[in-house]
């Protein structure tokens, strides 16, 4: 369109800005802002107006000369969310406009709140001012408000050294050979896998190991949508697998099958890493994959 000679662009502007006097009341507020304080003015009826006006908006009476420091925190009473900030807005990223009733004030101040996203803000939210680097006596000496600090993130890290002795060592040595070892409790007649030294039901010792096949049945499973360094892909499936001849299921990953096709009763077999890469570790088993046999009816 600008190439059309009959269309003109024009700008209305006051070069260098338009100078306005503030008067004593607004001037006091702006001067206090320059000192990083927010003040209101008291009306004859005792209300604190923030930002201050020369008159009480309810009665038209002049306000008193009493200035009261308020805030700096306040409570959001009304807000609206801007997804696409305009030039001239206080923030260049999505933000909220909010009416903020500063602590000690009877009216609400309008300003911007940097809350990250709309879900992070609600009526009643507590917000604090974030000051601009060099206050000059202007409403934008408050750069914006930010939600009150209600949580912090602290890092926790401790290192441990674990050693597989006893029954776990026996089981993992079996895994190194490509065999799952379990144990039968003589008194309960139950087969536990992984192999353990005592029966959790009766407390009797379990002396001998028992080799179990690497086939089994899925008893239950979960589809995981959060990435895990040990998992083949997202989503991945972790399942309880009842190895054949065992009485207790073992937890493992399921692979070589789309997540939504995994089902209870599905027959699976362990997929082992090549023999040359095997160690005494559960990473010996890549995952369990469907065998293609018919599903098993679970009791």
């Amino acid at each position: 369109m600008p190439s059309d000679p009959l269309v003109a662009q024009h700008v209305l502007e006051f070069p260098g800005g338009y100078t306005r006097t503030t008067g004593p009341v607004i001037g006091r507020f702006l001067s206090e802002l320059r000192g990083r304080r927010i003040v209101g003015v008291r009306t004859n009826e005792g209300k604190v107006l923030v930002p201050p006006l020369e008159y009480d908006p309810a009665t038209g009476e002049p306000v008193t000369a009493e200035y009261v420091e308020v805030g700096p925190a306040g409570t959001v009473t009304t807000w609206a969310w801007v997804d696409e900030p305009l030039e001239g807005h206080p923030l260049d990223r999505p933000f909220a406009w909010a009416l903020i009733k500063l602590d000690g004030a009877d009216t609400a101040l309008l300003h911007a709140v940097d809350a990250g996203n709309a879900k992070a803000l609600a009526v009643g939210a507590r917000v604090w001012p974030v000051w601009s680097d060099r206050p000059t006596g202007h409403i934008r000496d408050i750069s914006h408000f930010a939600p009150e600090v209600t949580k912090i993130v602290s890092s926790v890290r401790a290192e441990y050294r674990l050693q597989a002795g006893g029954a776990l060592r026996v089981f993992l040595e079996g895994v190194r050979r490509g065999v799952f070892l379990g144990g039968r409790c003589e008194s309960c007649d139950k087969v536990y896998v992984p192999y353990r030294a005592s029966c959790p039901e009766c407390g009797s010792g379990i002396a001998d190991t028992l080799e179990l096949p690497d086939t089994g049945t899925i008893t239950t499973f979960a589809i995981n949508n959060l990435p895990d360094p040990r998992a083949p892909q997202v989503p991945f499936v972790s399942a309880y697998i009842l190895l054949d001849n065992a009485d207790i299921p073992m937890i493992a990953l399921i692979g070589d099958v789309p997540a939504h096709e995994v089902r209870q009763g599905m027959r699976v077999r362990a997929v082992w890493v090549p023999e040359s890469e095997r160690t005494a570790s559960m990473s010996n088993i890549r995952w369990f994959a469907p065998t293609g046999e018919p599903d098993v009816e679970l009791s």
Binding site: A80, W81, L86, G88, H89, W97, L99, A108, L110, R140
Partner: protein
Amino acid sequence: MRDVAIVAFAQTRHTDHDAGQTEPELILPVIDEVKERTGLKRFGFTCSGSCDYLAGAPFSFVSALDALGAWPPISESHVEMDGAWALYEAWVRLQHGDIDSALVYGFGKSSLGDLNTIMTIQLDPYYLAPLGLDLLSYAALQAGAVGADRKELDEIVRRSRADGRANPYALDLPDPDGEDFAVQPLKKTDVPPITDGAAAIVLAAGDLARELCPNPAYIRGIAHRIEPHYLGMRDLSTSASAADAARAAGVGKGPVEVAELHAQFPHEEIILRRALELPGETVINPSGGPLAANPVMATGLIRIGEAARRILDGDASRTVGHAAGGPCLQHNLVTVLEA
């Protein structure tokens, strides 16, 4: 009080774009139309409403006077606001008793600039304008304060747009769909259309009203009230000034068949319906209202004109026209019209 009536109303076929007309060219047809309807060539008083910031040209309302033969001894005035307030001034002037007729007009081309940010200039220069608070943002703050049901808001937009399609002067706009936000909680379809247009009304007092028109729309009550400008000093979920103006104008003294409300956003209709205490039977904005055509500075005058037209046409006996100005319905003018 003298009997003062609206005896003629005309409006442009509003456009959603700049049709390239100067302001005198925009208003000339509607002034010619009301002159022809009434047979009047000269008026006891003339008053207009417009806003120079829409055109970005100082005193642009002065050049618009070229459309009406501004030759002495014309008695003329202007309000830098919606033409509805020009009508109020003309009504007051007619109450003086020495003249019997007045021409009122309002006009605006909101297509020339970015109306959303131009309306920032109307805000106070110390606390609000320096934040760059724009029209959609402050309207969204009020929508948030109202907290209206989304279905009710969509229904208001749908009804307004459907009525607008049946109104040859309004715009043909699609029904609301989608969830695109302008400024949350306002959806893009809640935003009134950019519109260029103008309107004119003739007022006549005493016997002249009946001579000029078979069904004059008598102004039985007219009042305006204003609230504090600063948004944080008001309860944005209600409109105390609209309620006060409605009581002063006597809206509740009889049934209201039609109410034309200057509700630019659907939540404003909810606020105004409550403030004016309009019963469910009252038909709201059968013209489509500002959601179907919003020629800024004429929109309020058109509400009064549309309310009067129902009486001029003989379709209604008691109607209400409402106009608003300032951010978030700060200033409200309510007119009760009767056959």
